[in-house]
């Protein structure tokens, strides 16, 4: 039942690869959430993260608890906000669910499909509410849902998305011969790069999941085109996928980190919803105020900060800031989460969706690596290769 009481939020870590820092202001601004502590298993993390966690706790004026288990026993914790490295998320989510805490999980549930499955099972078994805010509430989805519901498109036949981050400084790549890594190892964390199909492609997959049925077939292309860091490891900074769902509907996406200053609004975020009666074009970067300030123009050409070369912690400079003040949909997601905790409707994007999102991307990685079309669902028992 709705009450006026705020839900206590435990922030589990501030990994550089997560968006925990972006969630802080949301929790502070929402009248029904209150940050009560920061926690991590302090003796298992590196010095940088240990320092970062302490700094955040100090800034927020809350205790830093050096054991997650101990923090989960606190009675004032209702929500656990998981912003740890992808390799730790599944275990943390299972522990928190077992402690009866509701979950706010930044992006993927785990590093492998099996780890994602364990979270889905734990959430169901423990009866907690789990929100994965990143893939179901952004501008594209919020605009697509009413169009789909209106029936004006007729029968939906396909959905196509370009979503890129205009971040990082592209540099010449000497060697294009390194074999593509694929994605079956479950290793996603690198100090200098992110796998961009996973990082940026997941948003587009969220839209395709909403528009289309379950993905049955997938093929793709990708590689390292912009950054030597990616090319030298055989990792992807750009990739494209084509999906076919159970009814034969088509989905395509392109995703990647394409360089600072390559787009006036920080990267394209555009979709075509193709129906039998009409096609809708959604541009999440429109409408926009078209601002041309000298300093902003110069910012477009300025190299990124040395301590954040890929722009993980900073937004790209933009000349056309979109009018939407919640482009990533995080505030919308938090509102829906709180409403669900109060007994409202079920979440539109669940941990099961996030698990399937991961499966689609894993299949996409394998399809790119093998240059073959892959069929879903992937086998749960056998390794992908």
């Amino acid at each position: 039942m709705p009450t006026d009481e705020a839900y206590g939020v435990l922030l589990v870590s501030f990994s550089r690869h997560s968006h925990q820092r972006n969630f802080v202001s949301l929790y502070r601004q929402h009248p029904r959430t209150r940050i009560v502590a920061v926690a991590d298993d302090d003796d298992t993390i590196d010095e940088d993260l240990r320092r970062l966690n302490r700094i955040w706790a100090q800034q927020l004026g809350v205790p830093y608890v050096t054991s997650v288990g101990e923090a989960l026993r606190r009675a004032d914790v209702a929500i656990v906000s998981i912003g740890h490295d992808i390799e730790r998320r599944s275990k943390l989510a299972q522990l928190a669910a077992a402690a009866g805490k509701h979950l706010w999980i930044d992006k993927f549930l785990g590093a492998t499909l099996s780890e994602c499955d364990l979270v889905v099972d734990a959430v169901a078994a423990c009866g907690v509410t789990a929100m994965v805010p990143s893939y179901g509430y952004g501008s594209l989805l919020r605009q697509a849902r009413p169009i789909l519901a209106s029936g004006r498109l007729g029968q939906l036949l396909g959905c196509h998305v370009d979503l890129h981050f205009a971040k990082g400084l592209p540099r010449h790549i000497d060697d294009h011969s390194i074999q593509f890594l694929g994605g079956d190892t479950g290793e996603w964390k690198y100090p200098e790069l992110k796998r961009e199909l996973l990082t940026t492609g997941s948003y587009s997959v969220g839209l395709l999941q909403t528009c289309l049925g379950r993905t049955r077939r997938i093929h793709g292309t990708g590689g390292g085109f912009f950054f030597p860091e990616h090319a030298q490891r055989g990792a992807d900074d750009f990739a494209c996928l084509t999906l076919v769902d159970e009814d034969g509907h088509l989905g395509t996406l392109s995703a990647g980190r394409v360089g600072l200053g390559s787009h006036p609004a920080g990267g394209p975020c555009r979709a075509w919803l193709v129906g039998s009666d009409a096609t809708a074009i959604i541009d999440a970067k429109r409408p926009a105020a078209q601002a041309y300030l000298h300093s902003d123009l110069l910012d477009l050409t300025r190299p990124p900060a040395a301590n954040d070369p890929m722009g993980w912690a900073t937004g790209p400079p933009t000349l056309h800031p979109p009018a939407d003040d919640d482009p990533a949909g995080l505030a919308t997601a938090l509102e829906e989460f709180v409403t669900a905790l109060d007994g409202g409707p079920e979440l539109q994007y669940t941990v099961s969706h996030a698990r399937d999102n991961m499966e689609i991307l894993l299949a996409g990685y394998q399809a790119i690596a093998t240059q073959q079309e892959l069929h879903l669902p992937l086998s749960r028992q056998a390794p992908l290769s």
């Binding site: 396909g158 370009d162 494209c240 084509t242 392109s254 200053g261 787009h263 039998s276 096609t279």
Partner: protein, 293 residues
Amino acid sequence: MNRLIIVAAAHQLNWIQDLHDVDPKLVVLWKSKKTPANLSCAKRLEDAVADGVQNALFLTPQASLAADVAFCQERGVRVHSAGPIPDTGRRSPASTPNEGILCGMPWRHDGLWKRLEKTRQRPAFGAPVFYRRVSGGGASGLLSTWWALWQGLMESAQTLSSPVSHAKLNVTRRGPRRLWHASMHVHVECGATAQIVVTPQPDADRADRLLVGTGGSISTDSTDTGLHLIDGDGGIQPLEARTPLQEWVRATINSSSALPDPQVSGWQQLTTSDSLLNAIRRAARHRQTITLT
């Protein structure tokens, strides 16, 4: 050229009627289901091919396209087609397969594409990585989908400036009018990718484009005409500029005999031949992904 047969779709009627301003002496013989008021019409191509007709413009791929082209060839009428001609073996045995047939590429007359192409050639653009092209064209079934994909494929290869190494094709059909929706995932030899999408709307002529290179991105928007009408009900309607197909038709009519578009290279000929048409058929019939190499 002042006597001309035009074979076009009903949705092209409005601007076909205005072609007289290109050449006041122009006599257009129309072959379509709807009868325009101010054009000379013929129900059958045989009736339209009158004395003095030297050229025929095929602006839409009707089911009788191959037979109509063969008929024109037999009578020495030069054929200008806005897309490829299916090879059904019915062309004039007296002529070589493409004799007297000029297959155009209307997208080369698109001002937005030309600007994109010019910008791409600047060193600052770097190496191309990705090309997205979304257009209509699937509203009239198999052949119109084929034309739209062909145009998209040619344009993509030209824009990425690299031969196609392989492509995967997916097609879905739905609805009472057998509307076609297709996507083609194209990999070119330089490593870049193109995603070509054909929607089940009629206008294959207008395309949305996004070209991404290592030095930046270039995009064109088919809905951005720069001219909008706000009517009394508050509705906003873009006013249409002349389309690439219209530009191509005008260039063709104004040309005495020269082919306005350059010859396509060998691999393009191969890719745009009937193998693509057959691939579309197979992808639709068997609901399979078809690989083109």
